[in-house]
């Protein structure tokens, strides 16, 4: 699904909430957001749902879906601390 789709953000926010409810309580999950798809290296880089984990090696054990409502779900490594 393209970000140009007028329903994209409505679906993306709903999907983000779904992922947050299911995974944000996991100790290895640090952030769930909607942004540039790290696996799309074209000039028209599309948006994706991204789940940030503190250690990449734990991602497989989470059981994340590959996509929700046609929006890809990607995993990124990130551990965020107050500045």
């Amino acid at each position: 699904m393209s970000s140009d789709d007028p329903h994209f953000w409505e679906k993306a926010l709903r999907a983000r909430d779904q992922l947050a409810a299911q995974f944000l309580g996991h100790p290895d999950v640090s952030l769930i957001d909607i942004g540039l798809d790290p696996e799309d290296h074209t000039s028209a880089q599309r948006n994706a749902l991204r789940v940030h984990v503190r250690r990449l090696e734990t991602a497989k054990s989470l059981g994340l879906p590959g996509e929700i409502d046609g929006i890809p779900v990607r995993v990124l490594e990130g551990d965020y601390h107050p500045d």
Partner: protein, 329 residues
Amino acid sequence: MNDDAKTLSRIRMALDKAVGRYLSDPNINLIDFGYPECDGQLVESKRAICFHVSQKLSGLRLETAVAAGQTQEIPPSIDGFSTDVREGRFRLSLQQWPWWNWRLPQSDPRAARQEVLRGGISISDEYHNSYGTLGGLVRDRISGVEMILSNWHVLVADWNARAGQRIYQPGRLDGGTGADAVATLTRDAMPVNLDAAVAALNRSRRLINDQYDLGSVRGVAQPTVGMSVVKSGRRTSVTYGRVEAIEGAAQINYGPVDRVIRKVVRILPRVGFQDQVSEPGDSGSFWLNTGTRQAVGLHFAGANFPETAVAMDMQTVINALNVDLVFVA
């Protein structure tokens, strides 16, 4: 013993946490990272966060001192690093003139006392030996009172804090004292999952709509993916970035508790640049659209691997706090 960059980053973060939490303890003189001691000898096969105290207490004496509020018990580890406690007192090896107005020389004006307040300079609450960034000038939507906007963990900084605690400029870790109080804590937005707070100015010094080395804020706008942004912060001064993601929900550790922070905006270095976007001490900075200078985010967190700044959507923050940014249209 050489550490890779990732380990060094973990060490720095653990030290920052230890300093923020314990250095204000009157019994603690220095917190650093090095070899622990055993029977008076350094153990060079190990490393630890080292607490240098005036008096090393244990057993009943420690319990009594803790109960009396004279000191705190130091945990056996912080963020995976062992702690070590030893006695150590230190004295200054330089003199200042005039002695009755002594203050550490500040080569960075952002760390110094500023007679006219603006965004991008050092502040802290009165209790914690730390500093963050004065974000900018806001006004209460009902009373019209002018306030400082920054983060919860800069202005409140403690789950037991109460409204009315004083805000210093510069922050305590930059030498701020009671004579430098500029505001009092008014309210915060942590109950609605935003690391943000406001403090009413006490009118001892004026706060203007200006971001240090950047100019004035010219409104509020929504961050969008791909937007070029810029901020002025106490630690890394003016830095540039690009919004890489929005509408995030983050799980962040605040000492004894983890909190979900919502409406998170993730900012990376600009494409093709080796930018540093933020460091500890930049918390509270305003992220502005580079072109329009409209405020799009309130900085509150970051990471070094990869280099990342994390902010909250500005419009959401000011709505939650019931304030408006003061800007020149």
